[in-house]
């Protein structure tokens, strides 16, 4: 890559960061100004939350199952099988559950929003909305971002619960442990400081998924190729954002623990 190309890529990257910041600023300005599009918010919450239950449930179940099947032999070798429920619940609730569920949501929700708004952009539906007296940022962006911010944490809680159930099933494939004992062991290991920060970061995951999907859709260039690119880059950028947010959240949590 020549120096010129490098400098152009860097310029484009910085421009996109600046543009995304402006877009986010506009979201905050418009969202808390009346009137609030409550019906569209409910509609989007249904689309984002309810319609993701199946996918998130299946992946959560498999996650708990596989994690237990992989961990069990190691714990048996160390004679620490009794730690299985606690270890699984800690890893699912603190890290794996939120991150994997958020990545699934990035793939499903961010791409959907990017493609939907991208297609509305190239077919001038967003312009039509604006000339018919509707603020498209409020109607399209605020509702989707808010719905994602609220629904992703709920999906994570749901996925965590299903994953623990999957783990319980896996624990009973090779051995036997009662439902009550498994869950009592699993919850004994969980502390307030494990659950709350993990849930708080999922609000940021949801916000990132929503705002990036909307931004990429809104900035779609003309043509169907642009819609595909918008959906694709929404997923990629949202996934990277999830890891970055997770990294920052873990660092913050450690800093808070030190003090």
């Amino acid at each position: 890559m020549s120096e010129n190309q490098k400098s152009r890529s860097l310029k484009e990257f910085l421009f996109e960061i600046g543009d995304l910041s402006k877009f986010t600023g506009r979201f905050f300005r418009e969202t808390f100004r009346k009137p609030f599009e409550f019906n569209e918010f409910l509609n989007q919450s249904y689309e984002i939350g309810y319609k993701s239950l199946g996918l998130v449930g299946i992946t959560g179940f498999i996650l708990g199952l596989v994690l237990t099947l992989q961990t069990r032999p190691v714990l048996v070798d160390f004679g620490a099988l009794a730690w299985l429920p606690g270890m699984i619940s800690l890893s699912i609730v603190r890290e794996i559950g939120p991150v994997i569920t958020a990545l699934i949501c990035a793939g499903k929700i961010s791409s959907r929003i990017g493609a939907e708004l991208g297609s509305m952009q190239v077919t001038e539906q967003i312009d039509a909305m604006e000339v018919s007296g509707t603020n498209p940022t409020k109607f399209l962006v605020s509702t989707r971002v808010l719905a994602a911010t609220i629904m992703v944490p709920l999906l994570v809680i749901y996925s965590d619960a299903i994953a623990l159930f999957g783990s319980y099933i896996a624990a009973n494939i090779d051995g036997h442990i009662s439902f009550q004992l498994f869950f009592s062991e699993a919850f004994n290991e969980l502390d307030f400081s494990d659950i709350v920060p993990a849930i708080i970061k999922t609000f940021f995951f949801g916000f990132g998924i929503g705002i990036i999907g909307c931004y990429k859709g809104y900035r779609t260039l003309k043509g169907t190729e642009g819609v595909g690119l918008a959906a694709n880059s929404a997923v990629v950028i949202a996934s990277i954002a999830i890891f970055l947010i997770d990294l920052i959240a873990v660092q913050l949590q450690q800093m808070i623990n030190i003090f």
């Binding site: 509305m120 001038e124 312009d127 000339v131 018919s132």
Partner: protein, 248 residues
Amino acid sequence: MAQFTSNNNVIEIEHLVKSFNGKEILKDISLNLKIGENLAVLGKSGIGKSVLIKCIVGLILSDSGKINVLGKDITNLNQTELLKIRQKVGFLFQGGALYDSMSVRENLLFPINRNLHLIDKQKIQELIEESLNSVGLIDEIDKMPSELSGGMKKRIGLARTLILKPEIILYDEPTTGLDPATSREISNLILKVQKDYNTASIIITHDINCVKLTSNRINIIRNGIIYAEGTYEKLKNSENEWVSSFLK
């Protein structure tokens, strides 16, 4: 009742300039639209005709110049004032721009809910039916946009525009991509709307038959300025070969 400036103009544009990425698309556009008049704006592809009408409703911000719509300079309006002007200016987009996720009824209901705030369901239904009747598509009321042909989408788009009873309508290539028979239907519809709703319109088009049928006056854009202006007959018989060949 339409408000207008001098000489019964509902739109007056003076020295409009608009550039994209440093390239001046519209260099110095001045034009006016009189009350009840159909003005066709012609020009080669990419010359900035659609940009011009998007500047009129504030979808694109101009670099400089005045755009006076119904007595208000829209370049100086705040969001609320711009919204009020937009309620009086209808816009028919190239593909109709119907909302994919909504049925025809919901597409028409959308501007009603946002602008008229009517509670009486009977009155809302009447408005929707009146609007669909005026474009001859009342039977399609419960269809989704994906079930409609290109011509139907444009007509429903026009019905959605008419529902707010605009004083001005901006048509962005209303007959592009349609077969000759449907193009003629749309052109006749433009005339019907002008007569029934007493609207003034700017029609952006490449379709000379549409121009011939619908326009009272024509402006031709070339090199970012209004290069020629007059009636169809006058421009067709112009001594300027470039202008007369444009209308053949």
